[in-house]
Symmetry: C2
Subunit: 387 residues, 2 copies
């Protein structure tokens, strides 16, 4: 078991009507609020109007139009500028993980004199940040319960994972009903994203009985509840369990003490969505089975056997190789069953930039230290097998 | 799924050599430290000397002699007096859950003008507290990762669970090696305590696939690792997994959104250890199987079946009643196997005060609202069946 240093100070306000608690939750942080959101779905759903009413006592500055795979330019830069100019007290993200990630970078940039990109890249330490909070409308990234943000920069094709203890949300308001209107495609992508967060912690060395059990419970829960959400988008129990499970994805609580896996699928997918702006969860789902096939070996076999038996109920008396291959096939088939387009071509990616992307990942992804180290040629092979 | 409002801001510093991080961890909180500990085992082990060296820059005031089932008088009162008189900045517990619980009450009392008992009983709200932190030497209570404290008052036979958001530890230093010297008896009692924390969250209504899976993983991990710790007290992996599993016991993370069970075994055991000062974990283990038998009914049967199949691997094709009865027997047998004296008589409790204790629990325990409501007569029956 590895040493670790863990903290997640975020308050989770969860359940039906949780949004009503916004005024009480935000009060300790001040009255000047940067209200950030995405493409306007919160206006259609009525959430925008509700938040405005709940924050009637506050001075609100708006930052609309934050895109999926949120961008350094213009969203982060514009948010930082607004925070400084309007002397913002707290940044409130209303939306999914992309809006929240963007707000985390904004909150850090607002307390930094230089270019916020210095903080995102880790070139400079994040010494302070405005408080950031969120009302979540999508179950997927786990950003609502961690100190991570993923920020993209179009001019350099960088998609960088940023972490700071200073940007854990002060509070996250999670009302599962707000996810009733999430499309089937985004529901499936959210499930795939969260499942991959678990896999990145499960497929590694030095695991424990406890962590394996927690990760396996997560995977079974995510799969069962994704199916239920797709069958009935207004199934409260399924949406609620899905939302909570996704929340646990990235703050480490699923596998404290496990060896660090290198998060290989994320490193590879970040290149795909940096170059092609695809949906992160779909990119992850597409490359997962080819990655699994690529790393299957005598060393990794026992993990795949455990995964196959405990997640898919594969007969434990079969030969181990057969269990592992069935498990990888079942993973692929599950993603197909929830409607994910399971090839890169289906999401608009062809062969043309694979070597360039593989080179980019090899240079920046740190996968030579992964649980199963991946060289540039491995990464290119996994991308090609995903076409 | 129930609404909830969850937060655990505590930083966990975990692993081999974690104690070395004490100076860095404590620095932000100040230099005047109340160093609280128990009966002197930390002097024998050398931990006391190590802490003194690590805190060479600090002004240390000592509060030794805190007992298991920590007492309002003298420990809490004395600690509060010292904090006020010496203008303490932070309360540092070095020991097990009892020392830490005592320190939480002290930290709250230090910032309160009246009698700290008002805060413990909840008669007055805890508006502020000194920061409290710990170096844990026993895997059991989970106090290192929650805002609870259990404080006993000898003159009234009260043993009260106190909660405040203000007394979450600022940090908890968890070095599994510090538990190598824990006796077999205390190791087993710690395991039983943590297992019961899980059961109090598992045996309830409105559970989820995710929470059930996490709770079941906890129980399997605790049982396997308790056996390994007893077989080899210096098995680092087993001590480490045990320590982490115990840490998750009480802050709610195992079962967010489950209905509240009423924590019936704790309510009953608190009377036993208030009247007889027995070891909490042993008291819990002793009453668990009789409580299970008492509440087994058509309503509760499916839970016991799930428990029996998933924890003890009982054949799922047997008749449900048979599975449940085997599961309860297996629970009893497991506690016997780790050396817990499994009758009240074996820990010095006879029939004489059972009715008085049952009356006390019925008056103060709130068990009429438990998952399976327990009246005074039920409580007395469970105590008698535990003799």
């Amino acid at each position: 078991m590895q040493n670790f240093d863990y903290m997640t100070p975020t308050r989770l306000i969860f359940g039906k009507g949780a949004v009503e608690k916004l005024p009480d939750a935000i009060r300790p942080y001040g009255k000047r609020v940067l209200l950030a959101y995405g493409g306007g779905s919160i206006k259609k759903s009525g959430l925008y109007d509700k938040v405005k009413v709940l924050l009637a006592d506050c001075e609100i500055v708006e930052l609309p139009g934050i895109h999926p795979n949120p961008k350094y330019d213009p969203s982060v830069l514009e948010g930082v500028r607004l925070c400084k100019e309007k002397k913002i007290d707290i940044v409130l993200a209303v939306g999914g993980g992309s809006v929240l990630d963007c707000c985390k970078a904004i909150a850090a940039g607002a307390k930094y004199d230089g270019d916020v990109w210095d903080l995102v890249t880790g070139e400079k330490p994040t010494l302070d940040a405005l408080p950031v909070a969120d009302i979540l409308t999508l179950a997927a990234t786990g950003s609502e319960f961690d100190g991570f943000a993923v920020i993209s920069r179009t001019d350099t094709n960088d998609k960088i994972g940023y972490f700071s203890e200073k940007v854990y949300p002060a509070f996250s308001i999670l009302d599962p009903k707000l996810t009733f209107t999430v499309s089937k495609r985004q529901t499936a992508a959210g499930c795939a994203d969260a499942m991959n967060h678990v896999m990145e912690q499960y497929f590694t060395g030095d695991t424990t009985l406890l962590n394996d059990g927690i990760c396996e419970s997560m995977l079974r829960s995510l799969m069962a509840n994704a199916r239920a959400c797709l069958a009935n988008p207004e199934d409260y129990r399924a949406r609620a369990e899905m939302m909570l499970a996704c929340t646990y994805g990235c703050n480490g609580i699923l596998a404290l003490g496990n060896a660090y896996s290198g998060w290989p699928c994320h490193a590879m997918e970040h290149a795909l969505s940096a170059y092609y702006d695809i949906t992160h969860g779909e990119g992850l789902a597409i490359i997962t089975p080819p990655w699994m096939r690529h790393i299957l070996s005598d060393k990794t076999l026992p993990r795949f056997v455990k995964y196959g038996v405990n997640i898919f109920g594969i007969d434990a008396t079969l030969p181990p190789r057969e269990i592992a291959e069935k498990a990888i096939r079942a993973t692929h088939d599950f993603f197909v069953s929830i409607g994910i387009p399971m090839t890169l071509r289906a999401v608009g990616i062809d062969e043309s930039r694979i070597d360039e992307m593989a080179h980019h990942v090899a240079e920046t992804g740190g996968l030579e230290d992964a649980w199963v180290p991946l060289a540039e040629s491995d990464i290119a092979a996994i991308f090609r097998a995903s076409l």
